[in-house]
Amino acid sequence: MRITQSMMSRSMMSNLQNNFKRLDKHQEQLMTNRRLNRPSDDPAGVASALQYRGEISSTTQFEENVEDANSWMQFTDSVLMETTSIIQRLAELAVQAGTDTVPADARNNIKQEVDQLYQQLVSLGNSQFKGKYIFNGERVNEAPYPSDPANTAYSLDEGVVQYQIGAGIYVPVNMLGDKVFGAFGDNNGLFKVLDDFKNALNDTSPSGTTAIQNAIPALQENLERVITAQAEIGGKQNRLEFSMSRLNDLNLNYISLQSLTEDADMPAVITELKTAESIYQASLDTMARIIRPSLLDFLR
């Protein structure tokens, strides 16, 4: 083939252009620290990168949901703790008052305290977490208990509030009031037992003493109910902890997969950049050597 100057300079220019393009590509990867800057950089890689990004986004949301569920349960747990100690105190008072030798005065004092504790239990039943009543199912905007729940009819909602903590995984976060305090109309309900106890303290006859003594096993039963509720919360908290560490692992896994697909392998890119750079320089050098001499240079 016949080769001419213009052919050489043209092919040198296009080769130079290619080398320059390669240099630009590596430069971009280095600057953005990313291997994938547009879908055509690696179509399959970008599709997985999008998937990882989506997974990271939802996993992060699930982590947040677990945290929120956890704080709701912690709050419920603290309410239940207080309820437990109140019931224990009431049991102590019942033991104190449950003998015939207790003077009427003392019973009256005990009655005062029981009354206070009753009020306290009602307000515990009406606890709010972030503005929502926690014992009224999904009727969160209404207080579940009237001021005297032993003698005023009420009915609680039994809706279960669920938080999503994984793909297709839900955890109920609320504790229903009836499971803690007993439903209205239940003679063993905490408020009813307390009301009976209170009334018995007014009764100075032996039947009053019997009634007070009867309160002790009734309170015990209520204590067990609250402790069962606490155990349920504890179990759920446990489950949430597991979920949390699983989500953390999952997220870490997705983040490292994302980085693997999207991020530039720095040492490799730098090496390639350096190679491209030296190739570019070599081609410039070659051009400078080849372009100049022609027959012209040797004729006088």
Partner: protein, 521 residues
């Protein structure tokens, strides 16, 4: 007997011919870098000889040479290589345009990044999770998040749709410009054809004019596929399916209506980019927007959900005490997010079922360009439905139906649409029958990446092929300075030698005229 001055004339012809050849060499050297120029050579041939003159007609077989003659100045060019180059060039131009367009589309989608549609979509689903945790009126911030993320999502759809639309309009404009360029070039080719016709009618070679015409044809081949038919007495150019140049007749205008006949070249590239590629991504965005709002998807309605009045679910088992209450978890296929949203209740009192969540600006079918959040939701956060349960509340003897504000089942179900498989079968041009919403976008983006990558590769290959064809052409036609320098020396020496012949004859004549017959002078 031959003439006394015969050889002087032969020498002169030699000088003139070498001078012409030298001039041609000079012309080549000065045009070495002129685009489209093909090198020329002065064809030299011995002049027609005459019979050796004698007193009578000679019977000797001798003929006397009459020296040299430049018979023609020819350009060195191979028209088959021209055809090859033009074909490759048309192909390459198509791909360059397509690659440019697709890389533009990539820019519009801007994936993967922090502010792309994929991000808007995940944030939108997450917002519903947030609402499922805080559905009541005690904290409206979760509702604000849903509203704002939904607006952001619709705006992203609108933005992409409008960008793709603008791109289509730009491509249309380019097609107009390129068609005008075709006609401009055709006009020049026609003008040149007339001039060439005139020059060559006189028997000359219109080399430089032909070079110019061929260069214009090369340029035209960038715009579209063409065919050149050259015969001894005519020159025709067929561009697409129109014979634009037919000898010296006025050129035929290439109209916008003819662009669809083009199969290659920039114009075909623009048409295909606009009507196939960009249109495809507009279609895909429409499919996505419409499916999100109204596409069929199966959800599981939780037991205890209260259906809005008038809604019946085929095969559902209802609570005996309440005909609107689901007795058990029920699978149901809804018409997209809109259909699901209508199964739940807003914060309004008395309990009101949700309305369409997404609507089309100006009504009609929802597309990526017109999708927007229902203005009633934009105006009032309470109109977002999150709950699936209501209860009858009697107060002062009046019974009203109230929503259970703590119920976020609907929000939770909407959030779970992220994992659900939408049915795309009803959508024109959908690339899959069913799949998750994010999965669909991933397929679209992967397709975009593949298309763009293919186009890039085709540009690379096409450049190689077209460069190769051009090199073959250049190998024949382009000017080699070394070669021209060698020729120059050759012609220079031949010139000197011819001049030397003249000098010799001069000396001989000098001898004859001044040196003979001088005896006794």
């Amino acid at each position: 007997m031959r003439s006394t001055f015969h050889t002087l004339e032969v020498g002169k012809r030699g000088v003139v011919a070498q001078q012409t050849a030298l001039a041609t060499t000079g012309h080549n050297i000065t045009n070495a870098n002129a685009p489209g120029y093909s090198r020329q050579v002065a064809k030299m041939a011995a002049a027609r000889p005459i019979e050796f003159p004698g007193m009578t007609r000679s019977t000797n077989p001798n003929q006397l040479g009459m020296g040299v003659e430049v018979t023609s100045i020819k350009r060195i060019r191979d028209f088959l290589l021209d055809i090859e180059y033009r074909n490759q060039n048309s192909d390459l131009s198509t791909w360059i345009v397509k690659q440019e367009t697709l890389s533009n589309v990539e820019g519009i989608f801007n994936e993967p990044s922090e502010n792309s549609i994929a991000t808007s979509i995940s944030e939108f689903w997450n917002a519903w999770q947030l609402l499922s945790k805080n559905p009541s009126s005690t904290d409206l911030s979760a509702r604000t998040v849903v509203q704002q993320k939904a607006i952001a999502l619709t705006e992203t759809f609108n933005h992409i749709a409008s960008q793709l639309n603008t791109l289509q309009n730009n491509l249309t404009q380019r097609i107009d410009v390129k068609v005008a360029e075709v006609n401009n070039t055709v006009q020049q080719i026609s003008d040149l054809t007339i001039m060439i016709n005139r020059v060559e009618g006189l028997g000359d070679n219109a080399n430089d004019l032909r070079d110019q015409r061929d260069l214009l044809i090369d340029q035209l081949s960038t715009l579209g596929n063409l065919q050149v038919i050259e015969t001894d007495d005519n020159y025709q150019v067929i561009f697409g399916d129109v014979m634009v140049v037919d000898g010296i007749q006025p050129p035929t205008e290439f109209a916008l209506a003819n662009v669809n006949a083009l199969t290659r070249g920039e114009i075909a590239g623009y048409v295909e980019s606009r009507d196939v590629h960009v249109q495809n991504y507009i279609t895909q965005m429409n499919v996505m927007a419409n499916t999100l709002a109204t596409g069929k998807i199966e959800v599981t309605l939780p037991a205890g959900s209260i259906l809005p009045p008038g809604v019946t679910i085929p095969g559902a088992v209802m609570d005996p005490t309440n005909p609107r209450k689901l007795a058990q978890d029920t699978k149901h296929t809804v018409d997209g997010l809109n259909g699901l949203h209508k199964l739940g209740y807003t914060l309004q009192e008395p309990a009101t079922a949700g309305k369409d969540f997404f609507v089309a600006t100006g009504g009609g079918t929802i597309t990526a360009a017109n999708i927007r959040v229902n203005p009633e939701i934009v105006d009032n956060l309470a109109n977002i439905a999150a709950a699936m349960r209501t209860e009858q509340v009697t107060q002062n003897g009046v019974t009203t139906e109230k929503v259970l504000q703590g119920n976020g089942d609907l929000a939770l179900m909407i959030a779970s649409l992220a994992e659900g498989k939408f049915d795309y079968r009803g959508q024109n041009g959908a690339i899959t029958n069913e799949g998750t919403f994010a999965g669909y976008l991933q397929s679209v983006i992967a397709q975009l990446g593949t298309d763009s990558d293919d186009a890039y590769r085709m540009v690379q290959n096409g450049t190689l092929l077209s460069d190769h064809a051009d090199r073959l052409r250049q190998a024949v036609s382009s000017v080699s300075l070394d070669e021209e320098m060698a020729d120059m020396i050759r012609f220079q020496h031949a010139y000197s030698a011819s001049a030397r012949v003249m000098t010799t004859i001069d000396e001989m004549l000098d001898k004859l005229i001044n040196g003979t017959g001088v005896v006794g002078r």
